[in-house]
């Protein structure tokens, strides 16, 4: 039996954002855009989706005179990511039938 893949994570840009945030403490919008190569508009939409799902938390503040958006993965996001990776593994290494 294959586990279902979380549709929220099974999309290129959202998965990229989550993979980055899983491996760091926090990252700002500029850093995420640079690492993913996404457009600002698209990245912003995907960040909002992840935020609405409770997978990441978004903090909007200021750095000097510039606005700065900082993202962090939440416990729920961490759990969802772990389940997603386990589901992927079950697809790639299906259990052998006796």
């Amino acid at each position: 039996m294959f586990a279902s893949l979380d549709p929220l994570l099974h999309s290129e840009l959202r998965l990229a954002v989550m993979s980055i945030l899983i491996s760091v403490e926090e990252a700002d919008f500029v850093y995420l855009r640079e690492k993913t190569g996404a457009t600002a508009g698209n990245l912003s939409v995907q960040i909002d989706k992840l935020n609405e799902a409770g997978y990441i938390e978004v903090e909007r503040g200021f750095s000097g005179k510039r606005t700065r958006t900082v993202c962090r993965v939440t416990r729920k996001g961490m759990h969802a990511f772990k389940q997603y990776v386990e589901a992927l593994q079950s697809y790639l290494n299906p259990p052998k039938e006796e």
Partner: protein
């Protein structure tokens, strides 16, 4: 990168690639905290040594307060200027290590200046050497780790030196423990 569905293999490859991307490389400016604290400590030490050996006035020890007064604002400015957009677990660990060492160093210095006669220069080198060694080990940069351990060993030299010349030993150890590895770290970051 777009909002596109991936197959399972592509998903795992993407996760691996992004995680790889976040691995921090040594960057130009990484050695700056060592240089700021190192040079400030050396200059202030020489000032204290000079005035103390000239006048013998105990109040010259208050000049030590110049170290946090000068290096603190410079570090604040540097941190704001070099905001790199990402904070890793390593950044957090190194930050905590230096916060604890900084607070301990400040507290023990206050005790030594106002209340108790302690071998404070030895203690400060021991503390800073420990912080430097831990930082070097955590960021996996051997010259910093080695400099830290060298500092820990050389801290003993302060115990064997008498009078105001102890301050010169203190400055020399800071040169080896912070300034030299700070320059090496910056030079590596530039490559």
């Amino acid at each position: 990168m777009e909002e596109r569905q991936l197959n399972e293999k592509e998903s795992l490859e993407l996760i691996a690639r992004m995680i790889q991307n976040t691995q921090q490389k040594l960057e130009k400016g990484n050695g700056m905290p060592f240089l700021v604290w190192g040079y400030t400590t050396i200059v202030v030490s020489l000032l204290v040594w000079y005035f103390l050996s000239r006048t013998g006035d105990y109040r010259m020890h208050y000049l030590w307060f110049l170290i946090p007064l000068v290096a603190g604002p410079v570090m604040f400015f540097l941190v704001r200027k070099d905001e790199k957009g990402v904070k890793t677990y390593i950044d957090r660990v190194v930050g905590y290590v230096w916060t604890v060492i900084g607070l301990t160093g400040f507290m023990i210095s206050m005790v030594a200046i106002f209340f108790w006669n302690l071998p404070i220069l030895f203690i400060i080198i021991l503390l800073m050497g420990s912080g430097t060694a831990i930082t070097g080990l955590v960021i996996r940069f051997t010259p910093i780790a080695v400099a830290g351990f060298v500092g820990i060993v050389l801290s003993l030299a302060c115990l064997f030196t008498q009078g105001v010349d102890q301050i010169l030993v203190f400055a020399a150890v800071f040169l080896m423990m912070m300034v030299v590895p700070g320059h090496i770290l910056n030079a590596k970051g530039r490559k």
